[in-house]
C-alpha cells in the first residue's frame, strides 16, 4: 500500500517537475522579482535626483539664511530685479518656482504678503517646506517678544519621542507590533500563495486524469483516496522544490545585483517603509540612534522563532492539506477548467479574508476580538494565527488555550474536509458529462 502511494507521489512529482511551463516559471520568476526590485530602486534614484530649484526674490530684511538647500530642494537668490523680471527669468531658467517676499519691516506683514509663483499648482512638499520656514520664524519672533532667547528656542524645538517599555520593564520600541505582524503575515502570505498556486496544480492534475480517461485504469489498481493523497503530496513536494529554488536563486541574484550595481536596499526599505513615521513635510526621518537599532534587533531576536517556525509548519501542512483536498474534489467534480470558477471563488474567499482582515485587525490590535476569532476559525487560522504568533505565547502574546484550540479545530476540520473531499472525489472522477450543482455534490456524499 505504502509502495503504491510512493509510486504515485513519484509520478506526480516528476510529471510536475518535468513540465515545461513549470521549469520556465521556476527559472523566470526570480529574474522577474529581482528585476522588479532593481527597477524600483532605479526609479527611486531617479526620483531622488530630481531637485526642485526655487528662486527667491527677497526684498525684506528677514529670511536671510533660512532657505537651506536640501536633498530635494535648492534655492537661488535673486537680487535687484523687479517682480516681473524675476518671474520671467525663473520661468526661462526652468526653475520650479519663485518665492517673492516683499519689502517691509514687520515680519507678520511681510509673511502675509509673501507669494509663491509656480507654473502649475505647486507640490505639497514644496509648500509645506516653505510654510514651515515662515512658521518657525514667526514663532521665534513671537516667543522672543515674550523674552525667550534663540538658544532657549532651539531647546523648545527639540523633537520629543516617548520612551516605551513593557510591564516587565523591558524597553520596547515603536512600530514593533507592526513589524511582528508583518513577519507573521509574511509566513501567512506564503501559505496563501502556496495554497492558491499548488492547490490549482492539484486541481488541474485531477481534471487531466479525468479528461484523458486514465482515471478508471488507475483506480482499478489503487484506492481513489490513495491517488488523491499521492497527488496532493507529489504536487506539494514539487511546489516546495520550486519555492526553495525561488528563494535561493532570488536571494543570490539580489545579492549579486546589489554587489554590481551598488544599490542601497535600505533606501527602498525607507521608501516603502510601513513604519508609522512616514515623512511629515520636510522633517527628516528621526535618525534611529544606535541604541534604538539595537532595541529593534533585540525585539526581532526576541520573536519566538522556534515557536513561530514550528507553528508555521503545522499550520502550513494542515492548511494546505485542507485546501488542496477541496481543490482535488473540485477537479473531480468538473470536466474542464472553465467549469471550476463557481467552486473556486468560495474557497479563495476565506483566504483573501484571512489576509486582509488579518492585516488590518492584527496590525491595530493583535488580541482584539476579530483577530482572535479569525485565528480560531479553521479556514483562516493558518494565516491569521501566524500573524499573531510573533508576539509569543502566554502573557502579552497569544494565550496558550487559543493556540491549542485553534490547532485542535484545524485538525478536526482537516479530518472532516478530507473525508468529505475524498467522497466527492471518489464519485466525481467517474462522472462525465455535465457540470454538477452543489445539490448534486451533496447527494454524492451519500453514494
Amino acid at each position: 500500500m505504502i509502495g503504491k502511494l510512493g509510486l504515485i507521489i513519484k509520478r506526480e512529482y516528476l510529471a510536475k517537475v518535468r513540465n515545461k511551463s513549470f521549469i520556465i516559471m521556476t527559472i523566470l520568476s526570480p529574474l522577474l522579482i529581482v528585476g522588479m526590485i532593481v527597477l524600483i530602486a532605479y526609479l527611486i534614484r531617479i526620483n531622488d535626483s530630481e531637485k526642485r530649484v526655487i528662486s527667491v526674490l527677497n526684498e525684506s530684511e528677514f529670511f536671510d539664511h533660512q532657505f537651506k538647500t536640501s536633498q530635494s530642494m535648492s534655492f537661488v537668490r535673486f537680487q535687484n530685479l523687479s517682480l516681473q523680471e524675476a518671474k520671467d527669468s525663473t520661468s526661462s531658467l526652468g526653475y520650479y518656482g519663485l518665492l517673492y517676499i516683499p519689502k517691509g519691516t514687520n515680519l507678520e506683514q511681510v509673511s502675509k504678503s509673501a507669494f509663491l509663483y509656480t507654473k502649475d499648482n505647486p507640490n505639497t512638499n514644496v509648500t509645506q517646506r516653505l510654510e514651515s520656514v515662515f512658521q518657525t520664524q514667526l514663532r521665534q519672533k513671537k516667543l522672543s517678544k515674550l523674552g525667550v532667547s534663540s538658544t532657549q528656542f532651539q531647546d523648545i524645538e527639540e523633537p520629543f519621542e516617548i520612551n516605551l517599555a513593557t510591564f516587565e520593564g523591558e524597553k520596547s520600541v515603536k512600530g514593533i507590533n507592526e513589524i511582528k505582524a508583518f513577519i507573521g503575515g509574511g509566513f501567512g502570505y506564503a501559505i496563501m500563495m502556496f495554497i492558491i498556486i499548488y492547490g490549482g496544480f492539484v486541481m488541474r492534475s485531477v481534471i487531466e486524469e479525468k479528461t484523458s480517461r486514465i482515471i478508471e485504469v488507475i483506480i482499478s489498481s489503487v484506492k481513489p483516496f490513495q491517488l488523491m493523497l499521492g497527488k496532493i503530496i507529489g504536487t506539494s513536494l514539487a511546489g516546495i522544490t520550486q519555492f526553495t529554488i525561488w528563494i535561493i536563486s532570488a536571494s543570490l541574484l539580489l545579492f549579486l545585483v546589489m554587489l554590481f550595481l551598488d544599490i542601497d536596499l535600505s533606501a527602498i526599505a525607507a521608501e516603502t517603509s510601513i513604519t508609522p513615521q512616514t515623512m511629515g513635510g520636510m522633517e527628516q526621518f528621526p535618525v534611529s540612534s544606535n541604541s534604538e537599532m539595537m532595541l529593534y534587533a533585540k525585539e526581532i531576536l526576541n520573536i519566538p522563532w522556534i515557536l513561530l517556525i514550528s507553528s508555521f509548519l503545522i499550520y502550513f501542512i494542515l492548511g494546505y492539506l485542507i485546501y488542496s483536498s477541496i481543490y482535488a474534489a473540485i477537479g473531480a467534480a468538473v470536466d474542464n477548467e472553465t467549469d471550476t470558477q463557481q467552486f473556486i471563488f468560495p474557497i479563495i474567499l476565506p483566504l483573501m479574508l484571512a489576509i486582509y482582515v488579518g492585516f488590518f485587525s492584527v496590525f491595530s490590535n493583535p488580541h482584539g476580538p476579530i483577530a482572535v476569532g479569525f485565528s480560531l476559525f479553521p479556514l483562516t487560522s493558518p494565516i491569521v494565527m501566524l500573524m499573531r504568533l510573533p508576539g509569543g505565547i502566554g502573557e502579552g502574546g497569544v494565550p496558550l488555550w487559543q493556540l491549542i484550540l485553534s490547532i485542535v479545530l484545524l485538525i478536526g476540520t482537516f479530518l472532516g474536509i478530507v473525508w468529505l473531499a475524498a467522497k466527492i472525489y471518489r464519485v466525481g472522477i467517474l462522472m462525465y458529462g455535465k457540470r454538477p450543482t452543489y445539490r448534486e455534490l451533496f447527494r454524492w456524499l451519500k453514494y
Binding site: 510529471a15 484523458s212 478508471e216 485504469v217 482499478s220
Partner: protein, 312 residues
C-alpha cells in the same frame, strides 16, 4: 471451485436510481463470459464492483471461492470502457508505472513489457509520448497494460470500440490465446453481435436486472423455434409448387427466381418432423440448402425482454 467469480444477490443504487438489483451470476473458470445488455443496464456498475472501484449495497461476491478482497486486485485485469493514458508521459514510463501499480516489480514489468512490445510489433514506441500516437496505437498499449500482470480474470468493457478491424482481429486473437493459457475472461458490451462468436457463456442484463444467463449453446437450443431456411433448385413452376407446400406446412415466407430456377422459403415445422419434408422435397427438387435458423443473442435478448414485459 469451478467458478472464478460468483455474485450472490448483488444490489447497488445511486440515490433513487437502481443500478443493479439482485444480480446473481456464476462465471466459470477458463472461459469467455459475455455480459450483454443495452447501455445503462448496469454492466459497468457490476464490473466496477468486481474491481472494487465502488461497492455493492448488499449481496456478496466470491473471487476464486473467497470473498472479494483488496488483494484480489492484482489478479484482475480491467480494460474500462472509458479508457485513456497520460498524454504527456512517455509510453514506456507510463506502462511501467501502471504495471507497478498492479504490483509487478520494476524488473519483471520491464521484461514483460519488452516481450509484449515485440509481440505486437511496437518496440520502437518506448520513448514516444502518447499524444504522438494514434488512437488505435494507444489502445494496443492499453491492452498490454491490462494483461501484463497475467491476471486470473480479465475484464473487457466494450473492448473493440476504437479499434480498426485489423487491430481488432489482432487483439481478438491475443484474447483467445490468453484463454487457451487458462485465463477467465469477461466481455461486457451492448453490441452483442461483436462478441457472440467468442462467448461460451452469457448473461443478459436489462434495466439493472439479470434476465437470462447460462451456456450460450444451451440458451440457443432453448430459444430456437424450429424455423428452417430451405433452398431448392427445381424445373417445376415455383409458385405453383409453393401453393402445394403451403397446404401442408406453415410457410413463413417464400421467393422464386424463375431465371435461376431457384426457390427459397422459410418454414416452421413441428419438432422432430424434418425427415418428412426432406423426403418430400428431395423427390421433386434438388435441395441445395436446408438449415435451422439459430437465434442471435440480440434476438434472444429482444424476445426475453418482450416476454418479461408481457408477463407483467
Amino acid at each position: 471451485m469451478d467458478n472464478i467469480l460468483v455474485a450472490k444477490n448483488v444490489s447497488k443504487s445511486y440515490g433513487d436510481y437502481k443500478a443493479l438489483s439482485n444480480i446473481s451470476l456464476e462465471i466459470p473458470k477458463n472461459c469467455i463470459y459475455g455480459l450483454l445488455g443495452p447501455n445503462g443496464a448496469g454492466k459497468t456498475t457490476f464490473i466496477r464492483i468486481i474491481n472494487q472501484i465502488t461497492y455493492q449495497d448488499s449481496g456478496e461476491i466470491l473471487f476464486n471461492g473467497s470473498p472479494l478482497m483488496p488483494e484480489h486486485i492484482s489478479m484482475i485485469g480491467y480494460l474500462p470502457e472509458e479508457r485513456g493514458l497520460y498524454k504527456s508521459m512517455k509510453v514506456g514510463e507510463q506502462a511501467l508505472y501502471l504495471a507497478q501499480l498492479k504490483g509487478l516489480s520494476k524488473n519483471d514489468a520491464k521484461k514483460r513489457l519488452k516481450y509484449w512490445f515485440d509481440r505486437l510489433d511496437i518496440g520502437d514506441w518506448w520513448n514516444k509520448k502518447i499524444q504522438e500516437l494514434s488512437k488505435g496505437m494507444a489502445q494496443k498499449i492499453q491492452f498490454i497494460v491490462t494483461v501484463l500482470h497475467e491476471p486470473k480474470l480479465l475484464i473487457f468493457d466494450e473492448p473493440f470500440s476504437g479499434f480498426d478491424p485489423i487491430n481488432a482481429n489482432i487483439i481478438k486473437d491475443e484474447i483467445l490465446q490468453l484463454k487457451e493459457k487458462g485465463t477467465s475472461i469477461i466481455f461486457s458490451t451492448h453490441r452483442m453481435e461483436s462478441v457472440e462468436e467468442l462467448c461460451e457463456y452469457i448473461a443478459l442484463i436489462h434495466k439493472s436486472e439479470k434476465i437470462l444467463d447460462g451456456k450460450l449453446s444451451d440458451i440457443k437450443k432453448a430459444y430456437k423455434n424450429n424455423i428452417f431456411n430451405v433452398g431448392l433448385e427445381t424445373e417445376l413452376d415455383g409458385n405453383a409448387f409453393m401453393k402445394t407446400l403451403e397446404d401442408k406446412y406453415h410457410i413463413l415466407s417464400s421467393k422464386f427466381d424463375a431465371k435461376e430456377k431457384q426457390l427459397d422459403f422459410t418454414v416452421q415445422l413441428p419438432s422432430n418432423t424434418t425427415t418428412n419434408i426432406l423426403a418430400e422435397l428431395s423427390r421433386q427438387a434438388n435441395i441445395n440448402r436446408f438449415e435451422e435458423t439459430i437465434p442471435s443473442a440480440n434476438d434472444i435478448f429482444i424476445q426475453t425482454v418482450n416476454n418479461k414485459e408481457n408477463d407483467r
